[in-house]
Symmetry: C2
Subunit: 335 residues, 2 copies
DNA sequence: TTGAAAGCGGTACCAT
DNA sequence: ATGGTACCGCTTTCAA
């Protein structure tokens, strides 16, 4: 038979189509016998429901969409692990829509994009204002922003300003001159406020103590760029007994490598720290600021579930506070 | 108005619903006037079609699904960039379905998973046999395997055996003792034959020349593990004038770092190479085996398009041959 | 070139 | 507890 339908199942089970539907959707008030016969017919015919028909009639899709940048970093893997688990338990299927190039944006601006064939939407690390050019998201169902913050949307995010402040305080406590390895972002759709906020927190705290960074470089994010940034700092006359704040772990790790290679053993002469709480940083002993990424993903997913159930009447914001993980790169040889 | 439908558009434009549908789907034989009036009505009402209704009726989804592991590496970003571009031009929406944890597998085994609400399926780096436990994929439409190979499916993949052979030949040409930094894989769903094949190519070529690796270690894939592997090799008595083959760039880069730190300057005393042709390897000067990832993604996508049009009557296999990129880590101080 | 109407495969209402 | 049936919104004959 050509792809069986409910009618075929109903006929074979000797019941009505509504009974089949009830069994499929776990409705109450079904006799054990009827359920049994329907189940048998289903497996005999190898039946599976047509999702399009189901959503057309029910108005639901049993799916959530996740819009996210694809960076090839572990960040989104972790975030998704946290979220997927929650969606799985709620019997929601999850589809990912990566923003790999600018061209895709045009597609996502159309309200009939596949992205919006969902009951809810999670937007990760992206600014709706930027993607939709300050127009509302063409999706009339619940939306949660994660790793991003916007007054008009439910948001789950890190307190990057506090993270910056925490880093600055730790640096100040060392009594050393403070240098910055900053992130050079290409402006555009993918631009995220994360680094802006971290930087702001750092500079704000420093200036409150009358301190200005002794040296500063801006580079793209990669291990190798971190290395080159460290070299550039040295070339610019960075004193060996400095405290270097790198705006992310990857840059910090690259810089740490260069300093180590040039004999400025991190933690013993030079001090250095990063941001992200990455596994690499922990393994390598780079002091960092932890961000509970997986947990953030889970909280965002839970918030979306609540929104789907209509329990969210006011805009929600869940902010995660940072934790300092002090490792060997800033522990020894304190002044 | 509550989400307008074709009827609303038709009424406003003073035409029949079929005319609206024809305009929406770019059918020929539509008068310029009718098209104009329909377009106006659509934008006035801010109409957008219901995807579920459309696919229910047409039997098509205008979507392709991509099943892939989420590793946080640049590999899949590149692969997708290659594929998305092709799908975009064919007006196909693309949804990603990551296999983040084993639990997900259960979901994907059901034929009514969202994954299968598509016209075609791309499976990346995963073995159908392993995911579906030797049962056929529950999807009666075109499937393309990419970065994987299977006699029963269309496949687009790298010749990893040749890559291994190429590496071994390069190592043999150095006349040095050859050591291996191998990948320790956790068996299971995610296990891919890539490393098995690379390893096989290496060992096969070596043994053809009567050579056996002087030293060998197995470690998980990470920069830091590469570093530790290098140290382990030294502890095991690796001679400084060796040729080290790392089974991937990330391990090679980590090892290179350790060797550099311990004074065995890569390329000058010790020789080392990796696999993948990663950007990092190129920047750092690590000799590597190039794999045109983006191109492979594009070819896989094109193959899927052909399959969708019914042009593929026999199982297709597209194999990409590897290229050696010789950089400084194996160039100088040749014997 | 166009409109009326059938029908895609389910779900949910309304009887019983 | 169960079956009949209208109907979700669209595409596609078919006849005009």
């Amino acid at each position: 038979m050509e792809r069986p339908k409910v009618q075929d199942v109903a006929r074979r089970a000797g019941v009505g189509t509504s009974t089949v539907s009830r069994v499929l959707n776990n409705h109450p008030n079904i006799s054990a016998l009827a359920r049994e016969r329907v189940m048998t017919a289903i497996s005999e015919l190898n039946y599976s429901p047509n999702l399009s028909a189901r959503s057309l009639r029910s108005g639901q899709t049993s799916a959530v969409s996740v819009l996210l940048p694809m960076t090839g970093t572990a960040f989104y893997t972790e975030l998704l692990e946290g979220a997927q688990h929650i969606f799985d338990n709620a019997d929601l299927d999850t589809a990912l829509f990566p923003l790999v190039s600018g061209i895709r944006i045009k597609r996502y601006q159309r309200p009939d994009a596949l992205l919006y064939r969902a009951d809810g939407l999670l937007i990760a690390s992206l600014s709706p204002d930027r993607i939709y050019q300050n127009q509302p998201v063409p999706f009339g169902k619940p939306i949660i922003l994660v790793d991003a913050h916007h007054p008009e949307y439910h948001s789950v995010y890190f307190d990057n300003l506090a993270a910056g402040q925490l880093a600055a305080q730790h640096a100040l406590a060392s009594g050393r001159p403070i240098a910055l390895i900053d992130v050079a972002e290409t402006a555009g759709v993918f631009e995220s406020p994360v680094f802006l906020e971290r930087r702001g927190g750092i500079l704000q705290t420093l200036s409150q103590h009358g301190v200005t960074p002794s040296h500063s470089v801006q580079v793209p994010i990669s291990f190798e760029d971190g290395r080159q940034a460290a070299r550039a700092l040295q070339d610019a006359g960075l004193p060996e007994r400095s405290f270097v704040i790198a705006l992310c772990d990857e840059l910090g790790l690259g810089a740490m490598r260069h300093f180590a290679e040039s004999g400025w053993t991190p933690g013993q002469s030079l001090h250095i720290m990063g941001f992200d709480g990455s596994l690499e940083a922990r393994k390598t002993g780079l002091t960092t600021i932890e961000q509970p990424v997986r947990q953030m993903g889970a909280v965002a997913a839970k918030l979306l579930l609540e929104a789907l159930e209509g329990h969210l009447n006011t805009i929600q914001a869940r902010r995660f506070e940072p934790t300092l993980i002090e490792l060997s790169s800033t522990q020894f040889g304190r002044t």
